[in-house]
């Protein structure tokens, strides 16, 4: 050892952009899902983790997609979230849905998830409408060595993940390969009587996804570093159904998906007062599913179902964090993006749709007094469909006594229409090439959905008791809600499959208010408890020029938010490496919008027992997880029965 071990410069690891803002000082409500919670939950699918966030409803819809709603408004396409993985936006430009199932990311590689509850378009841009889900993955340096994780269980649960963390010195990498199989719901459905038993039969939903993902971190100097990531995934999925309703065969039995992305970032800490990050990425999601549906018996003919969908996103962005004075900080930046979509059946055209958007943003954080923190900023963006919008935000945090903060916030956000909402022209084509039926006609030009969100919140932290609590009362006004109007828009269409057509329009408005509470209590090292509760009132007002038939809007939207939801996750560490955890989730009945059903209220309980030990220098963890131990419940559709199941998991690290 010499004096250089004291005097040499070290790389800046916890820079302002890498540190998370303390919940008490954030201008918005934040839930942090950390590795302890991920571990204790026993969940192996990333969207399931949103059950740990107050006000969220999560469901697997079938068709290998997930639905999520925050304070309601959840549908098959979950269009109102901005979801970022290390700053890379992963929601689909076509539907607006999040491509969870083909995401080449292992739950074992997640460092933490920060969920912004409520809009935050001033920082994250349009689509940060209902919430922002920020996934931060582990750096290569955090996962040096080898890691293997295996799962095996009922309902076709299979998982194998292998990770290698290597490199040394300034250049490190991690490489993860994984294959995951799920067969989520009961296959045979016989319980449906109400609708003439049309839905009774067999459902073939099952997924097998294999992916490879790599990340390289390169410390160029004490003040600069570079990061590169790539991911590839391939999904061999089963879907479709054989039910009494003959039109069931319009759903292809197999689905094929391929996704890839490449992401590069350069980060420079210029001084303690200024750092910046330049990032570029390209992502491509390709989906293919075909079927030849013989509907001759219905007088329609043989329909050639082709669900091919290719989406790409190219993005470059700059973010600068600055501190001008000890009490004045700011973040500003800009972003340019191109999105493309190709899907012949969804647009009745083989063309590639493409759009460019550009945005600049700036946010200031000023502390005029040690007990007062004022934050404000705005995003100015130009979207390819809706032109220029400005999304501002302001918040004031008042510290009552250290650790106890009151926050007042107001925020305006927009959600630009997706390609499908604006241009969608879904058709069923006969084998001959002739159009058999028009399902969706293009919109007449949509205005962006907009939300004005107001909140008053209290964030408290009792350090001696190790208790963190967060209470929030909110009121959201959503206008120009984009939904489907149903009418005979194409009278020439014979309507063989569906008599009427859908058209996306700004069909109304919604108002919601309510409150939610979350707490985290770690009184002793062995016990970790988190809990949340949310109560939501939602109303809808149908309205808009030339809207024909959205009768369900006034009826369905209010019940799309379950009145009460709560969750509890507790884990206790015993001696000799034993650990036990329990998760309980409760939701009132709710209506999933667009293609979903009214699902009954449920209580779900999961239990996990694990043991960790060392064997031949390896860290081993074996666990048994029981899910939905209280019995069956419905997810998204009343034919999606999530039943009691058990799986085992074994992981080794060395």
């Amino acid at each position: 050892m010499t004096e250089s071990d004291f005097l040499d410069d070290l790389p800046v690891v916890l820079s302002a952009s890498r540190l998370s803002q303390p919940v008490s000082e954030a201008p918005v409500a934040v839930t942090v899902i950390d590795q302890e919670m991920i571990h204790a939950s026993g969940f192996r699918d990333i969207p399931d983790l949103l059950r740990l966030v107050p006000g969220f409803s999560v469901a697997y819809t079938r068709d290998n997609t997930w639905a999520a709603g925050y304070h309601g408004l959840g549908d098959a396409f979950s269009r109102r979230f901005q979801v970022l993985v290390d700053g890379r936006s992963i929601y689909s430009p076509h539907y607006g849905a999040v491509n969870w199932t083909d995401l080449p990311l292992s739950i074992d590689d997640i460092e933490r998830i920060e969920v912004v509850r409520g809009p935050d378009a001033a920082i994250y841009g349009a689509n940060a409408f209902a919430a922002v889900i920020n996934i931060i993955t582990k750096t290569a340096a955090q996962v040096a060595g080898e890691f293997v994780s295996l799962q095996l269980g009922e309902q076709g649960m299979r998982g194998a993940t292998v990770r290698h963390g290597g490199g040394d010195g300034a250049l490190r990498y991690r490489l993860t390969a994984s294959t995951q199989q799920r067969d989520r719901f009961e296959r045979d459905i016989t319980n449906k009587i109400a609708d003439g038993a049309g839905d009774n039969g067999q459902y073939f939903e099952a997924s097998k996804t294999t992916f490879l993902n790599g990340r390289m971190d390169w410390q160029l100097s004490a003040n600069s570093d570079a990061m590169a990531q790539f991911g590839l995934s391939q999904g061999d999925w089963s879907a479709g159904k054989q039910v009494n309703d003959p039109k069931g065969i319009l759903e292809p039995r197999t689905q094929d998906s391929r996704a890839m992305y490449l992401q590069l970032a350069y980060h420079k800490v210029e001084s303690a007062r200024r750092e910046w990050r330049l990032q570029a990425y390209y992502a491509q999601n390709r989906f293919d599913a075909n079927a030849l549906a013989d509907l001759t018996a219905l007088g329609i003919g043989a329909v050639n179902v082709d669900q091919y969908l290719l989406q790409t996103r190219s993005n470059i962005e700059l973010q600068v964090n600055e501190q001008w004075r000890p009490n004045l900080r700011g973040v500003w930046g800009g972003e340019v993006r191109q999105e493309t979509v190709t899907s012949p059946q969804n647009y009745n055209s083989g063309r590639e749709w493409s759009g460019e958007l550009a945005r600049v943003f700036g946010n200031l954080e000023w502390r005029p007094h040690e007990r007062v923190l004022l934050q404000g900023g705005a995003m100015l963006e130009h979207h390819y469909f809706t032109g220029i919008d400005i999304s501002p935000r302001a918040a004031a945090n008042f510290t009552l006594t250290p650790g106890h903060v009151i926050r007042l916030g107001i925020s305006r956000a927009y959600r630009s229409p997706t390609f499908f909402e604006e241009k969608g022209n879904q058709v069923y084509v006969l084998q001959s090439g002739a159009v058999a039926d028009v399902v969706t006609v293009p919109s007449d030009g949509l205005a962006p959905e907009r939300v004005l969100s107001r909140e008053i919140a209290y964030v408290g932290f009792w350090r001696p008791a190790r208790l963190e609590m967060d209470v929030r009362l909110f009121q959201d006004k959503i206008d120009d809600f984009i939904g489907q109007d149903k009418y005979d828009f194409a009278p020439s269409d014979d309507g063989g499959i569906r008599p009427n057509e859908f058209k996306y329009a700004n069909i109304g408005s919604a108002r919601s208010h309510g409150g939610e509470i979350q707490l985290r209590w770690r009184p002793v090292h062995a016990l970790d408890l988190s809990a949340h509760y949310s109560r939501v009132f939602l109303e809808a007002h149908f309205g808009g020029a030339g809207i024909h038939n959205v009768i369900n809007f006034n009826k369905d939207v209010p019940v799309s938010a379950p009145r009460n939801t709560w969750g509890l996750l507790a884990s206790y560490r015993l001696d000799h490496g034993w650990e036990a955890s329990m998760g309980v989730w409760r939701s009132d009945a709710m209506k999933w919008l667009s293609e979903g059903d009214l699902t009954a209220a449920y209580n779900r309980m999961d239990l996990r027992v694990a043991r960790r030990w060392k064997w031949l220098g390896r860290d081993i963890e074996a666990s048994v997880i029981g899910q939905s131990l209280l019995g069956n419940y419905q997810e998204f559709r009343d034919t999606n029965i999530f039943s009691r199941r058990v799986y085992g998991s074994l992981s080794l690290g060395w």
């Binding site: 050892m1 010499t2 004096e3 071990d5 004291f6 005097l7 040499d8 410069d9 070290l10 790389p11 800046v12 690891v13 916890l14 820079s15 302002a16 540190l19 998370s20 803002q21 303390p22 008490s24 000082e25 950390d34 590795q35 460092e111 933490r112 750096t139 340096a141 955090q142 996962v143 040096a144 060595g145 040394d168 010195g169 300034a170 971190d217 410390q219 004490a222 303690a272 000890p326 250290p402 650790g403 932290f461 350090r463 001696p464 090292h525 220098g617 860290d619 690290g653 060395w654």
Partner: protein
């Protein structure tokens, strides 16, 4: 009438002159005995060493002594010939000095304590007990323990990660912590072991990670995983350098080259007051600073007293 007055005056004058000459002679003699040359031997021309030299030189400018800068590279006995004391700045300088067959009394500064106790003391061995000493770069454990109590009163368990080489300091550290009502949680790294496993074991139990200078634990390559992992456990890190604070430690306790230079200069001027150089026994730095990373404090939700307050309160106790 004679001129007794004149004669008396003359005698008086003679006496004054004689006295004056004696005084001047005495002054010359005594100044020859006290004014001396101090060689400041630098490991190389890097900034920290130069800083030390500049501080010593400036301080000695106000004394009869003189500081001469010498570099370790190509060091010859002749370069130190007329020096009454050599200040070796850094391990490199001390090693170069140790290679010489004969050398004046040595004060080693800017050196780690473990190096001095294990290697330096023996290699620089002096015939006279007061002819060799050191000012360590490390902070005393007592001071670190006190800082933890002053800055983070809620911390009870202090975690430490050590390489096998440093494991001998466990007892010393444990008693220093105990004196402040703190307990020690530590893990020893076995060679070739992944850092993360013992680190997580420590972080699970501890409320704070005390970083100790140990090239096998904290270095440029491990800093990232150490900081990110302790941050994940919401455990703050107490570091030992300003650069550690900048990299992500919540706070650090450290002495700068200038602070050590100042202490060395004070030692030099008092050591050379007598005829022979008499150095005090090796010691920890008496001047030090506390640095806080405000961003980390904010993110982890810690409210710390200002740096200057902590420094003042630490000084009061030492």
């Amino acid at each position: 009438m004679t001129f007794p007055g004149r004669a008396t005056r003359w005698r008086a004058l003679q006496r004054i002159v004689r006295l004056g000459v004696a005084c001047v002679c005495l002054a010359i003699v005594s100044s020859q005995a006290v004014a001396a040359r101090v060689a400041v031997l630098l490991s190389d021309d890097a900034t920290p060493y130069q800083e030390v030299y500049q501080v010593i030189r400036a301080y000695l400018d106000d004394t009869p002594h003189e500081a001469v800068r010498v570099y370790a590279e190509g060091l010859t006995p002749a370069a130190l010939n007329d020096a009454r004391l050599v200040v070796a700045v850094g391990v490199g300088a001390a090693e170069a000095l140790a290679a010489l067959p004969e050398r004046p009394p040595v004060l080693a500064i800017l050196v780690p304590r473990s190096w001095y106790l294990k290697t330096g003391r023996a290699r620089l061995g002096s015939s006279s007990r007061r002819g060799l000493s050191a000012i360590y770069l490390d902070q005393p454990f007592e001071r670190q323990a006190l800082l933890i109590r002053l800055a983070l009163p809620d911390v009870r368990r202090v975690g430490v990660l050590l390489s096998a080489e440093q494991s001998s300091m466990v007892n010393e550290l444990d008693s220093a912590l105990r004196a402040q009502g703190l307990s020690l949680v530590y893990a020893t790294l076995t060679p070739d072991e992944r850092l993360i496993t013992p680190l997580e074991a420590v972080l699970t139990e501890a409320d704070l990670l005390l970083a100790l200078p140990d090239p096998l634990v904290f270095n440029r390559n491990t800093a990232q995983s150490l900081f990110l992992t302790s941050y994940r456990y919401r455990d703050p890190v107490l570091g030992y350098s300003r650069s550690l604070t900048r990299a992500g430690a919540l706070l650090s306790l450290h002495s700068s080259p200038a602070q050590i230079g100042r202490q060395a200069a004070e030692w030099i001027s008092s050591a050379m007051q007598g005829g022979t150089v008499r150095l005090p026994p090796p010691a920890y730095p008496s001047y030090f600073s506390v640095s806080i990373n405000d961003q980390v404090a904010r993110s982890l939700g810690f409210i710390l007293p200002p740096e200057a307050d902590l420094e003042k309160r630490l000084e009061g106790r030492n």
